[in-house]
């Protein structure tokens, strides 16, 4: 091959004034999950006319809300380079705990609304407390997050099972009417859990992208050592990410409890996997350092749209739901893989 002549008119690389175009090329990480979701929506609509109805859509979003809210917190933890395997068990224990507290108060406090309010505050506080405990063990105790949360995964669920004596903890009937609307009511045609989901997503995105805390989280995940030398309070920030995730689990749980009105050893089973999957499908790097809330939301919705489509159509058995989700997770990861 002859050498390419250099045209005399060629633009000099004036680096200081280099165009910023180079960094704004099409980024598959950003749009991959969105394209996947769009594709699924088209497929769903084609397969079943009931799919594209407002009711079904709201139904899907309501079901997504729990995992979705948890995955927002999980997104922070994963970006900072951590992991939390316990969220499903934590949700179960919070659910059981808050029902016990509300039932106990139902006798002494006359207003069911007040009881429910106290229960909700309790759920969020308990979640935050569990999260901070994780964070403390991980930062001060210097134990790997995987190990700490693997431990509490067992502990939380075992404690709930013990509290429930192997059965279920059921919400006092007198409270159901006051609590029910938290799950069943709508505002402007949109169910309450979906509103909370939207608020959590917006708050999460702002926190991640527009606050020092969010930037610190990314810096720590990208290179903890560099962050430490740059005067970032690494331990404090990590502690907060786990606390934040705990709060998210608390919120998700308080939305979930009125749906069934009880907590049992199977409550929140495998939620940790769904939440982690949503984050990863959404384009957040498992290695930490970079990630997106919007992607996470799309990931969560994408996963529940899959099960919804399987429910509505009979091409693939509903029993294979997890298998289809698994295929999608692997496919998305394949599309997003980094060139070495």
């Amino acid at each position: 091959m002859p050498s390419a002549p250099t045209p005399a008119t060629e633009v000099r690389t004036d680096a200081a004034a280099a165009p910023r175009k180079a960094s704004r090329r099409f980024d598959p990480h950003r749009f991959g999950p969105l394209l996947g979701l769009a594709l699924l929506l088209v497929v769903g609509t084609a397969l079943n006319p009931d799919f594209a109805t407002w009711d079904n859509l709201m139904n899907v979003l309501t079901r997504t809300a729990f995992i979705g809210i948890i995955s927002i917190g999980m997104c922070f933890v994963i970006i900072s380079g951590g992991i939390d395997l316990s969220v499903g068990s934590m949700a179960a224990l919070i659910a059981g705990g808050m029902i016990l507290v509300m039932n106990a108060l139902a006798g002494s406090i006359a207003s069911p609304v007040a009881v429910v309010a106290i229960g909700m505050v309790f759920a969020v506080t308990l979640g935050g407390g569990f999260g901070l405990m994780h964070g403390y063990l991980i930062t001060r105790g210097r134990i790997e997050p995987f190990i700490v949360t693997l431990g509490t995964l067992g502990i939380f669920r075992a404690v709930l099972t013990w509290l429930a004596d192997g059965g279920a903890i059921t919400l006092d009937n007198s409270l159901s009417d006051a609590y029910g609307p938290v799950y069943y009511a709508s505002l402007l045609g949109i169910p309450i859990p979906v509103w909370v989901f939207i608020l959590a997503a917006v708050a999460g995105a702002v926190l991640l992208n527009r606050t020092p805390f969010g930037r610190y989280v990314q810096a720590i995940g990208s290179n903890e050592q560099v962050a430490r030398f740059a005067a970032v309070d690494v331990d404090g920030v990590k502690l907060l990410t786990y606390g934040l995730l705990g709060v998210c689990v608390g919120i998700a749980t308080l939305l979930y409890v009125p749906r069934l009105g009880s907590a049992s050893p199977t409550t929140g089973l495998l939620w940790e996997l769904e939440a982690i999957a949503a984050v990863i499908v959404g384009g957040t790097s498992f290695k930490g350092g970079e990630g997106r809330i919007a992607g996470t939301i799309i990931g969560a919705v994408l996963l529940s749209v899959i099960s919804n489509i399987l429910n509505l159509t009979s091409i693939i058995s509903v029993y294979l739901n997890a298998a289809v989700q698994g295929c999608v997770i692997i496919a998305v990861a394949f599309l997003q893989r980094r060139r070495p």
Partner: protein, 511 residues
């Protein structure tokens, strides 16, 4: 050996490769960094490749070593047009590149790193013993006396550098490219490396030596090749080229004095920083010194003398067992870099990639990381951050894509960004560890003048450096450390290379 005679190439398996670049062009996205570069490399010669930061030296060499594909142009190796599929492909042909940025796996041992991807086997199993023996042998040649079973994580930067060089030795290179190999080595280690280079050259190996240290280039290269703005500018026998001429060719204009004029430090009642009997176990013992407003204080010493670790200890990044630190006359407890920053002390590490910059993050995010609160009211204002970046780009002459990641900057520009980052909190005391490592002459001069400017603003500046010329040219006082202790404090009028070396290696006789 006759450099022009490429036909001798098969006489000896170790003989060097003849390389001809022809019209090599490289684009990264919309940015063209190489514009049709063409020149030859000859067996048995040491080629000094010179150029400003961002001139494209590393990029061209990465193309040669198979890490990047050229956008256009041809590389002929021993006359054959060649295109490598990857760096392994190039290594098969005997082309080995020692990267500017260290590329070692922290959690593996020295020996494991050296054989990474080229493990020796006995049947199905790894032959650890043979690897350890060979590794130890190669390590001795480059002057590393440590244990090949040490984890790389536990090495200091200079040792890692030596491991990289020893690793290249193992690959039996026929073309060895060294991208600033001495950036973190001290004089005695450099000597050993130069001996090694001379031996390889005599064996007929083709050598490319990239360095911003012109005295080294003058000493060990046979020929210099100069690049500027992604183009080939000139080549000349080293013997006929003065350092001044090299600098002029690189920068494209005459450089006046390298160092700013030395001010006399105005006397002050209280020192800005007073360190008393600080001990960092294993690294520094009973160190005391004062730093006055407006003063530039140097720290000299061999690698391993404990200078870096002393300051990591002062910052609270390593345990401190004793001692007192006063800032502005008040005793302070520094337990984290954050507390140090609050008290007006920042420290830029010598390990740019590992402790200085987030290479995968954008320039802006790197720059403002320490001062995010100034840009948050309460939400981060990207406009205000971008303005800070624009200011830094102008003030420090950072060249590169401002929207890109720190990794996309050339080594020297990364250094400027790092300096800018640690100056953002507006420290009263600024500690720079090897501030001009990998920085070109022009930029070096800029950094020296910048340091002087910071001191003139009555800040205290501490410069830890292995480049004696830099300490002599810049500092008002130099503290020499040897074997964890301060062995001398030299005032400006007693600064000379001989004196500094004598104190650093312990041959100084008291008079």
């Amino acid at each position: 050996m006759n450099p022009q005679n490429a036909d001798l190439r098969n006489a000896n398996p170790r003989s060097g490769l003849h390389v001809a670049f022809d019209g090599i062009t490289k684009d990264f996205g919309a940015v063209r960094v190489l514009h049709g570069v063409g020149f030859d490399l000859h067996p048995g010669r040491v080629h000094g490749l010179l150029g400003e930061n961002g001139a494209g030296k590393s990029t061209l060499m990465k193309i040669l070593a198979g890490y990047h594909a050229p956008t256009a142009g041809t590389i002929r190796i021993d006359g054959q047009p060649t295109r490598f599929a990857g760096s392994r492909d190039a290594e098969e042909r005997g082309i080995v590149l020692i990267h500017q940025e260290l590329n070692l796996a922290d959690d593996l041992t020295v020996a494991q790193n050296m054989f990474l991807g080229h493990e020796l086997r006995r049947g199905w199993l790894l032959d650890d013993r043979a690897m350890r023996v060979q590794a130890a042998q190669a390590l001795r040649q480059v002057g590393f006396d440590g244990d090949p079973d040490t984890k790389v994580r536990d090495l200091i930067v200079a040792e890692k550098q030596l491991v990289e060089i020893a690793k290249a030795q193992l690959r039996h290179a026929r073309l060895l490219i060294m991208d600033e190999p001495t950036a973190s080595l001290t004089p005695s280690e450099c000597e050993r490396l130069f001996g090694l280079i001379a031996r390889l050259r005599d064996d007929g190996v083709t050598i490319v030596y990239i360095s911003h240290k012109l005295d080294e280039v003058e000493r060990i290269t046979d020929e210099v090749i100069v690049m500027r703005d992604g183009r080939f500018v000139a080549r000349a026998p080293t013997a006929e080229t003065s350092r001044r001429r090299m600098a002029t060719l690189m920068v494209g204009r005459e450089l006046t004095d390298m160092f700013p004029e030395k001010r006399t430090v105005p006397p002050s009642a209280t020192p800005l920083m007073a360190v008393r009997d600080v001990t960092v176990p294993g690294w520094a013992e009973g160190v005391s010194f004062d730093l006055h407003p407006g003063e530039i204080l140097g720290f000299a010493g061999l690698v391993g003398a404990g200078r870096t670790e002393l300051f990591e200890g002062i910052l609270g990044l390593r345990p401190r067992s004793a001692g007192r630190i006063e800032l502005n006359g008040k005793a302070v407890r520094l337990r984290t870099p954050r507390e140090a920053m609050r008290h007006g002390l920042t420290y830029l590490s010598e390990d740019r990639k590992g402790k200085g910059l987030h290479t995968s993050m954008r320039l802006r995010d790197n720059l403002t990381l320490m001062t995010l609160r100034h840009h948050a009211h309460p939400l981060l204002s990207h406009a205000s951050e971008d303005a800070a970046l624009a200011r830094a780009v102008t003030a420090f002459g950072i060249r590169g894509d401002p929207g890109g990641t720190a990794a996309s900057l050339s080594g020297g520009n990364q250094q400027k960004l790092a300096i800018a980052k640690f100056l953002e909190p507006d420290p009263r005391v600024f500690v720079l560890d090897e501030p001009t490592r990998g920085v070109d002459v022009g930029a070096k001069r800029d950094i020296y003048f910048l340091i002087e400017r910071l001191a003139a603003e009555r800040r205290g500046v501490i410069v830890i450096s292995s480049e004696l010329i830099e300490l002599i040219g810049l500092c008002h006082r130099v503290i020499v450390m040897r074997g964890r202790r301060v062995t001398a404090t030299l005032p400006a009028d007693r600064l000379s290379e001989e004196e500094l070396i004598a104190h650093a290696i312990g041959t100084h006789t008291r008079h």
